[in-house]
């Protein structure tokens, strides 16, 4: 998938761990880990809202689109 999650960079800037973020947004660590590693295929707006509020960032800060990545049949 060409959409990448750049959560690691924002977490590093805020000096937070994934566990800290999971506690703040009320999402399981497993689900956040799936999101960070690109295993998730979709994200709810409510989840995006919670993450952006917790990290004080914009959706574009944690999402990136890489057009050079080939499209897979599941996309």
């Amino acid at each position: 998938m060409a959409v990448r999650i750049t959560l690691d960079e924002v977490l590093y800037q805020r000096r937070l761990t994934l566990t800290d973020l999971a506690d703040r947004v009320g999402i399981t660590l497993a689900n956040l880990s799936n999101l960070k590693t690109g295993k998730a295929r979709a994200i709810r707006f409510t989840t995006l809202d919670a993450i952006c509020r917790a990290l004080d960032c914009q959706p574009g800060d944690i999402l990136a689109f890489d057009p050079t990545t080939p499209q897979t049949p599941d996309d």
Binding site: I27, N31, N34, L35, R41, A42, I43, R44
Partner: protein
């Protein structure tokens, strides 16, 4: 209720195979011509040999139905297991339902064969076998294949939901 149903299906399957074993014994008994059986059949059939073959054919159909019934009961038991676990919309259940559909179709075709035997007995002996075609059975075949398609879509949706954060 699901757990009780699963237990009932397991026991019904055991009865299914017991019935098949008895029917197979009946086929063997009828195809090896003991005098006692022919004497009994002579009272009912003008031609005891033909009567013996007709009854053996009926028992033979019962034996052939048994694996189809086994397929239905075992796949249904597996499907109920996933429902008990709270995740029925999985790709395996699509396969189970299709297998049940094919088994039901086989049973319907064997029922037609039974109708053929019934007609033969009726024509040659005048004995009414009491067979009639089962529209419900044919509709059940269609229903199960449609249900398999529904479960396929459900499995895709379940997969999407689980991959959504």
């Amino acid at each position: 209720m699901l757990r009780l149903t699963r237990v009932v299906l397991i026991w019904l399957n055991r009865l299914n195979w017991l019935g098949a074993a008895l029917a197979l014994a009946g086929v063997l008994l009828l195809l090896i011509p003991p005098t006692a059986v022919e004497t009994q059949l002579a009272n009912r059939f003008p031609d005891p040999a033909t009567g013996r073959l007709a009854i053996a054919a009926v028992f033979g159909i019962v034996v052939l139905v048994a694996p189809c019934v086994h397929a239905i009961f075992t796949r249904l038991t597996a499907l109920i297991g996933t429902a008990i676990n709270g995740r029925p919309f999985v790709p395996e259940n699509v396969g189970h339902l299709r297998t049940i559909g094919w088994a039901l179709l086989a049973i319907q075709l064997l029922d037609l064969a039974l109708g053929g035997v019934a007609g033969f007995v009726d024509r040659t002996t005048g004995i009414a076998f009491g067979w009639s075609p089962s529209l419900t059975g044919w509709l059940a075949v269609l229903l199960v294949f449609v249900l398999a398609r529904v479960f396929a879509t459900g499995a895709e949706m379940q997969d999407e939901v689980e991959a959504t954060v």
